[in-house]
Symmetry: C2
Subunit: 161 residues, 2 copies
Amino acid sequence: MTQRRGRFPTREELRIWRDFIETTEALRAATAARLLSESGLSTGDYSVLLALSEAENGRLRSSELAATIGWERSRLSHHLGRMDRRGLIRRENCTEDNRGAEAVLTEEGAAAFHRATVPHLRAIRELFVDGLTPAQIRAAGDLAAALRDHLILDREKEENL
Amino acid sequence: MTQRRGRFPTREELRIWRDFIETTEALRAATAARLLSESGLSTGDYSVLLALSEAENGRLRSSELAATIGWERSRLSHHLGRMDRRGLIRRENCTEDNRGAEAVLTEEGAAAFHRATVPHLRAIRELFVDGLTPAQIRAAGDLAAALRDHLILDREKEENL
DNA sequence: CGGAAATGATTGACGTGTCAATTATATTCC
DNA sequence: GGAATATAATTGACACGTCAATCATTTCCG
């Protein structure tokens, strides 16, 4: 086996990179478009509503919510603003810490989430699961794990510069 | 083997779906952030500049360019507007068809592209290639092919409704 | 020829994501 | 106690993507 690390990607590696990144992006876009057209929710909305639905009393501190779904604060803040305007959530001040804010699931938000769930699961099956063999699905899990671990390593290396 | 098609994803399939979609999104974001910080170009800029660099005389009809990189017209139009403002490309009227427009690579655009290439290839190696075994890279290619074919089928089914 | 339809491209509105700056409150520690 | 600092969250500016509407030109065809 020849030395690979430290060199540029080969033509073949580059071809696979492009295929992979473009296809996963297309898959993401297709799922998002289905969710939006079938339920009026964006994937962002869905993540927020899912997290709130699973939270106690349908409410979470902004920072908890951000951590749960892995978003930056400001992204969440902007998004909650839009969801608030649409009546999907409500914002309340946090009693224990006056700096804090809580996002609260509204009835309307809960209803929208419930309407969205079944079609969304169906879309995931149709667009992802049905396109792959069981072995390929396992391979997708392996790939995700390997890439995620590697990304984390890389980020840590960056930070300890 | 039990019947799977037509049912909701299993817990395990759903876990893999989430892992997969989140990780590929994180990978995309990480590569884009590297490219931007190292060269001042977005991945969109890079795609456009790559296509123009490979085109004859560094120029392409808008529609050709859109087809080459697989973008919608309006997306390209907005993007070319931004790149034009930054001096990376120039727009010219098409002589054969007065409706048409051509995007032309400027010296500045070509220079920016050349500065970006090496660091970008390095980032792809570091973030993608180095995180996977050769077998996993092949698996990524297989997955992309399977998902892409399936997405196309699905789109065709949709259109012939 | 001349009007209807098709084609190439742009535009505006709006949701989304990131970054840097800001505001407000809480904590730390001299 | 009170200034320095840290933390929670919001805001503004700007790039990006999508959709529907628009505009100009060309093509089709009666």
